[in-house]
Symmetry: C2
Subunit: 331 residues, 2 copies
DNA sequence: TGCAACATCCTTTAAGGTTGCCATATACCA
DNA sequence: TGGTATATGGCAACCTTAAAGGATGTTGCA
């Protein structure tokens, strides 16, 4: 690979001049510009970003830490984040923590070691002090860190309430809620709170179940759902914390001969691609993933450039009514 | 952030000594080692990977270029690649080309500019000469480049044959195949070839449809499928080039009142998560994504370290029989 | 005993590609 | 003649590592 020096030699100038031409800074003659142009083309010169980064003492890379890649919610989120990052000239260093504490810690170190401009963290509970001395912004998504720079969330509470209200208005009398991982605290827990509040307000009995990290990691909730439906056979309405869980509930219902939506109404969360590929299609709470991604990257960029930044951003959600709560789409 | 120099000053040594201690090279006294240890802890020193990379003239980053992130096949692939890369000490620079030629070209430049160790390319048809002068390995997945370092594929032909044979053995008489993007040549075209060959061998009539790039990008095949099923109402067996297409076919069939598998058998390709979340569950051709990812990263690593590398690796596929070709799972 | 050969430990110096600052040089105008 | 706009060069710096070399101490052999 040709370097600045090579170009300079080829053009009969010094590296400083070539550098100035490259970056359009200071005084440059047309003559010099042309010579450099020719030399660059001839040598197929491409600036070395690593050297640039070293000099700047910063890269234009965002460390993106997620617990999962294959989970449709995260793949959707990653896709949107990449898009936004690209538009703003940032690259994505993709880090999959797999919800493993050590892997996450190591990835944070990798990010800082690689001088990332900032971190977008969609994953896990991080040891508080990990970011303290790191002078880079940390934007959390659907997580909250006391010492994070900013957090972006959807209105999980509102979503939980909407789900409960919808199920109740559909005439459900015995609700079941499959919630978050019991051992980790995160904003999504608010879905349960909202759901609970709405149920209590209308005096509708409900059962809350927690999930386990292993289920979250494997995306396999079958056994849990079977057990739940056997233990609470009177259930006629269910609110799942993700579309993945809701879709698997559909499968379980079918195997158990429970008709959806006739005998059981189901509402998911996220509104990812699978929600409209199940039969019946899932009613679900839509998360504004695109907007969340846009805001996250913007916040990161603002923080990097020293602007003041909202500590917490909460976006509204809305209910997407499909078939698991009523109307059958035929023809 | 503390630098080597800071640590050296703190420990009362020079940077080279500290560097040697860090990298366990040359002669080091216990005394020095201890002093450096203390200093590093005190200053919370972390090596600057950017400076290291500049010196080495290479990074431990893999540029991963995909056409889509949210598509379940690619999110699955990305996840596996990340996993394998991590195990071998590589980082992933995630590049989403969105099948846009310019974006892909720019991303290739970004990768080389950032001195990636190598590129894993799952995307698009690349202008031949783009890699010629770039001295870094390019591993293609489900693509083929004349001047690529190595390619990893699954046995698409075999998959197509299996699908056709299965449909035929199920008694289907009028087959429909929804294939690849017409305008781009890729190994997945072989699925169509295999399918065609098997049909011709058994003398079963079939219709082949191509898809468009816009459909691929939006993952919306609904209109195409409706049109196809209206145009070929006698169709009783279908082979789709991806599970995404197959899942959407299921939706269309339901809306059109076509019973699956009674009136229509469907086989997908990939065997991604959605395949077992549809109703009925999809029979599909399983791609060994994990193995493909493992091999791709290994090939890249071997190429980086100067080893000789297989030009083309083709892995076998197998048919996963679920419900869209027969057996209903009840209870 | 004397000295070469070697081992150990650390330092000095340079390099990697880029940019920023300051110095230099010319041309032009007042 | 002084001042300013224009154009370019020289050098240090960013942080790390590699190579060479200096300063000891130790061993081995005549």
């Amino acid at each position: 690979m040709a370097t600045l020096k090579d170009v300079a030699k080829e053009a009969g100038l010094t590296t400083s001049t070539v550098s100035r031409i490259l970056n359009n800074r200071g005084y440059i003659s047309d003559n010099a510009r042309q010579k450099v142009d020719v030399a660059m083309k001839k040598l197929n010169y491409q600036p070395n970003e690593v050297a640039r980064s070293l000099h700047r003492k910063a890269t234009n890379t965002i460390g993106l830490i997620v617990p999962h890649i294959r989970h449709p919610y995260f793949s959707e989120m990653i896709s949107n984040l990449e898009d936004q990052a690209y538009d703003r000239g940032y690259r994505i260093l993709l880090c999959n923590s797999q919800s493993i504490q050590e892997k996450q810690t190591e990835y944070i170190n990798i990010c800082t070691g690689n001088q990332v401009a900032g971190i977008i963290l969609c994953s896990g509970s991080v040891p508080m002090d990990l970011f303290e001395e790191v002078g880079i912004p940390v934007i959390t998504m659907e997580r909250f860190l006391d010492n994070g720079t900013a957090s972006v969330e959807c209105d999980n509470r509102q979503g939980g309430m909407m789900a409960a209200e919808k199920l109740i208005s559909c005439g459900c009398k015995h609700l079941l809620h499959i919630g978050n991982i019991g051992t980790i605290t995160m904003p999504a827990d608010q879905r349960t709170e909202g759901f609970r509040e709405a149920c209590e307000k209308k005096n509708i009995p409900f059962v809350e179940l927690l999930t386990e990290e292993t289920q979250y990691n494997s995306m396999k909730y079958g056994d849990l759902i079977v057990k739940a439906l056997k233990e609470y056979p009177e259930t006629d309405g269910m609110f799942a914390n993700s579309d993945v869980i809701a879709a698997q509930t559909l499968q379980v219902c079918r195997k158990m001969g429970i008709l959806v939506p006739e005998q059981m109404k189901i509402i998911g969360f996220d509104d990812v691609n699978i929600a409209s590929l199940t039969t019946p299609q899932l009613t679900t709470v839509h998360q504004p993933v695109k907007e969340m991604a846009e805001i996250a990257v913007r916040l990161l960029h603002d923080a990097v450039t020293g602007k003041m930044v909202a500590r917490r951003t909460v976006l509204p959600v809305h209910l997407v009514e499909r078939e698991t709560t009523g109307v059958r789409i035929t023809q």
